[in-house]
């Protein structure tokens, strides 16, 4: 019924409870021989530490918090799954924590959250991870955290992180569009307080530059990471005297909005206009045509971050790690129409 306890293992291995505790928690100071004996007993008894007891007596609850400020259900769930798989594996608990990344007392809110539940540490996802003032405060409160950030390479700023190269992926998508022959490529920006938005814009601009295509102000439209802004932005783009032949939405939800806008105008995607997204969410697969996008494994990224965090908590040194989203070409992108009519008919 109730699984074996520390004492059971201790008895079985002929050592004290404390020694078992040490082994289980990976402390160095145990003779290899003793460690083996304990490990064997753990195995035989299928011992799993009781999180509640551990949390109650220890300095922290062996539970981490996953902090997010994101409206996208699919994304949240993917992150949660990644975090869970690491937590399950390492015998940690997980608490989900939505928050307002723009709150001025962000660091204090999080500190209270950590203290109330005696959390061991936090995984900070974007855009929370980008509020640097809050990070400083959190560090001052001595709260362990690992960030997930959008950056081309290791920031080496003293805070552990997993960095995702959004710029590179956006570059790849734009190059794909350029290679198809598009010259006028619209860009629908994501929320300004996401660093990823700037990185993606940078990738877009650099690709344009590398292909000798001058960037045009009127083709870059502000918005947030939501369907409606994609819809509205694309509408504006398509209403231009000289509309773009391709539109790159800063994420799939924006791109889905752009797709809907094109269709609502009577345009055919990809024949009249190509559309690309970013993220590889269900939206990108469940539209018609399916969207060309950049695959970003939020689950794997967060799992890595979670493992790093738990390693940090255990006092280990960790190295930052990078991820690259990869281009996924699907039906929503194709060469532009010859020269003739590519205007709407509605």
């Amino acid at each position: 019924m109730a699984s074996a306890t520390l004492d059971d293992v201790a008895t079985r291995a002929g050592v004290s409870a404390k020694t078992v505790s040490r082994v289980v928690n990976g402390e160095r100071s145990v003779r290899p021989e003793t460690r083996q004996r304990v490990l064997r007993a753990v195995e035989q008894l299928d011992y799993r530490p009781n999180l509640l007891a551990r949390g109650l007596s220890g300095a922290h609850a062996y539970t981490i918090g996953l902090v997010y400020d994101n409206p996208n259900a699919y994304y949240i769930l993917a992150m949660q799954q990644g975090a869970l798989s690491a937590c399950d594996d390492l015998n940690f608990g997980l608490q989900m924590r939505p928050c307002n990344s723009k709150a001025s007392a962000l660091a204090e809110d999080l500190r209270d959250f950590v203290h109330r539940s005696r959390l061991s540490g936090l995984v900070l996802t974007t855009p929370v991870s980008e509020r640097s003032a809050a990070l400083q405060r959190l560090a001052a409160y001595k709260i362990p955290f690992v960030r997930i950030v959008s950056a081309a390479r290791d920031p080496h700023d003293g805070f552990p992180c997993v960095y995702v190269d959004d710029r590179d992926a956006a570059y790849a998508i734009t190059i794909h569009l350029l290679q198809l022959g598009h010259q006028r490529i619209g860009f629908l920006r994501g929320g300004k307080h996401h660093h990823a938005s700037a990185e993606r814009l940078r990738g877009y601009k650099e690709a344009l530059r590398d292909y000798g295509v001058p960037p045009r102000k009127e083709l870059m439209i502000d918005g947030d990471y939501v369907f409606d802004d994609g819809f509205r932005g694309a509408r504006r783009l398509l209403d231009l005297a000289e509309p773009p032949t391709a539109i790159f939405g800063c994420n799939d939800e924006i791109a889905a909005g752009a797709l809907a806008a094109a269709q609502s105008t009577g345009l055919h995607v990809p024949y009249d206009v190509s559309i690309a997204g970013f993220e590889d969410s269900p939206f990108s697969r469940h539209s018609w045509p399916p969207l060309t996008t950049a695959r970003q494994r939020a689950d794997i990224i967060v799992e890595r971050a979670t493992r790093m965090l738990i390693a940090c908590i255990g006092g280990e040194d960790v190295e930052n790690e990078g991820f690259n989203p990869e281009l996924v070409v699907r039906g929503s992108t194709a060469p532009p129409r010859p020269k003739s009519r590519q205007r709407k008919r509605a």
Copy 2:
């Protein structure tokens, strides 16, 4: 920092810790006057019981499990949010538990899960909640649970539940289509092991009957609750010698697939064919045109179920409760085309 403890409250209120414990856990045997005093102290000290300590010493961990077998991220998250809001409110923890509802050892898997984490009880969502053999076993193991089921009215079968009238909502959608003038309405079924699929089919058939429209075998297509089956099913429907003028997908994902199929065939929705879904998920809002659907508040439904469960655990008597999804008419449904050409052109 760390919040007030039971002893703090006890001292403040001038009673013993045990008395505070009684009040906090809503036991009867406390004089109203004493109870008031304790409650005031709780308020003043902003006392919140420590879940870990509670779980460690008590017979159960003051944590419930939310059990699901569903591929739909949006749906899962909505349920989780509902459960969380009830749990936070009532000082319970929450564990998410995906499972295979078709496993023969389902009840035993869940029992082990409950025992390992010393869970207080389970909220069973569909289709797990419909494996009646497993329910019997769970009850035999004395594991408290509350089910969410698809039924027109209270089943009164001795197990507490929240029931959702899928039949009624499907009826409403079909009537909507019939009133628009559709006579040939395709129906894309959801997975057979979901009772809701049968209920929705029933609603569809009853609406047809009430409008004197004979049901046609070739218009009802089997499938699962996934985009691809919606796509394939709709393709078959549209390839019929006499294709339907409207298609009702058993959920939004199926409907999104049907929408994609129609569009991939060059048809215009809703002018060439109307499409309706079920669930009011983001898919239904983020397509073009947006889908007519039935709004089903999974968050609220699960929150209710969670509150019922916690009440049960506390020894209270609970009454079953029903929910009705409501029709949401959007752009994907319109009257059928006159008599002329309503075939595809691709």
